[in-house]
């Protein structure tokens, strides 16, 4: 454990073996709209996933996942929002780009990577199919908490997941995430029909 951490510390503090990519991004990219230059600064998680090509040593991953877990903020009470609003959020791929107005609500881009409602035939496959998600797992408080947490910060569960940290990055609001939880877990949601 200590050895791995030491190794990680060396990797992260030593100058990049080839070229300083963050430096290149700072030199060759410019802020536009809401996409400001602070976005090219890597946090520890991004550095580790880049350095280890998304396969960090298990001990290090566990440690950093625990850090990410600390970012989770769960609202009190039921986490089940409105699945109909959730469906619209899942459909929308807008938000957070340099063309999007800063205060306009973002979408979750969910269908870009996941199958959800069977009615939507145009779905991506980067993430697993979520068809019948709640039907297979129920919709009790534990699973609600898991789904909310996974959408809020997927990296708390799988450090180098390709899924964005949609809550932690400020992309989706608490209510929007609850609506997505309902899309996945509400028995009335088309996902579970």
């Amino acid at each position: 454990m200590r050895a791995i951490l030491f190794f990680a510390a060396v990797v992260l503090s030593s100058p990049a073996p080839a070229q300083d990519v963050t430096g290149v991004l700072k030199r060759d990219f410019h802020a536009r709209g809401q996409a400001t230059m602070d976005r090219v600064e890597q946090d520890a998680l991004q550095r580790v996933c880049t350095e280890f090509a998304d396969q960090p040593p298990a001990e290090l991953a566990k440690l950093l996942e625990a850090d990410q877990m600390k970012t989770l903020v769960f609202p009190a009470g039921s986490l089940l929002g409105d699945w109909k609003r959730g469906e619209a959020i899942a459909q929308s791929g807008r938000g957070a780009t340099w063309l999007d107005p800063k205060n306009a609500p973002a979408g979750g881009s969910c269908y870009n990577c996941h199958q959800l409602s069977p009615q939507e035939a145009s779905y991506g496959t980067i993430g697993p199919s979520l068809l019948r998600f709640g039907k297979l797992r129920g919709n009790g408080p534990e699973i609600q908490k898991y789904v909310y947490g996974k959408i809020y910060n997927a990296k708390a569960y799988n450090l180098c997941s390709q899924m964005p940290r949609l809550g932690q990055s400020g992309t989706l609001t608490e209510q929007q995430i609850k609506d997505l939880v309902a899309l996945l877990l509400d028995p009335e949601s088309p996902v579970n029909k």
């Binding site: 791929g93 807008r94 938000g95 999007d100 979408g107 870009n112 035939a121 145009s122």
Partner: protein, 151 residues
């Protein structure tokens, strides 16, 4: 199906119009048929084109993708094998202005056209071929999917 086929319903309306002496006057060829092109429903567009009734026909062939990755460009290839076809009209039922194109063919041209059109949302496209004063039709559904990252 208990609901009446819209074309049959249309044919009744057109027949009534004929009886009332309201049939459209013959137009000079190729003057843009404003009334038909500005019609907001397929039925109104067909009425303006003077299509009183039409028969489904296997001789009218529509070649088009069933799924379009983008509605901005949907290629549609139309062939009429009905002898003496003199015109072909293309109607995209759910577009804001459903009539998309009408071509008149004289001797020297085959009743064939391929064209790229915009299909606003998943819709049936209908083709009407005119021959010997009658109309022959075919239709095909085109699903327009959401493509790309959508951002």
């Amino acid at each position: 199906m208990s609901s009446m086929n819209p074309l049959r319903r249309l044919s009744l309306q057109a027949a009534a119009a004929l009886v009332a002496g309201l049939a459209l006057p013959l137009r000079a060829l190729a003057a843009w048929n404003k009334e038909a092109f500005q019609a907001k429903s397929a039925a109104d567009a067909l009425k303006s084109l003077g299509v009183a009734s039409s028969a489904e026909s296997k001789d009218v062939v529509i070649e088009a993708p069933q799924i379009a990755e983008n509605g901005a460009v949907v290629p549609i290839e139309i062939t009429s094998n009905v002898p003496n076809t003199k015109s072909i009209a293309l109607v995209i039922e759910k577009n804001p202005f459903p009539l998309a194109a009408k071509f008149d063919f004289a001797e020297g041209a085959a009743p064939y056209v391929k064209v790229n059109v915009k299909v606003g949302e998943s819709s049936f496209v209908r083709v009407l071929a005119e021959a010997g004063g009658k109309f022959y039709s075919a239709s095909k559904e085109i699903k327009v999917t959401i493509g790309g990252c959508g951002g």
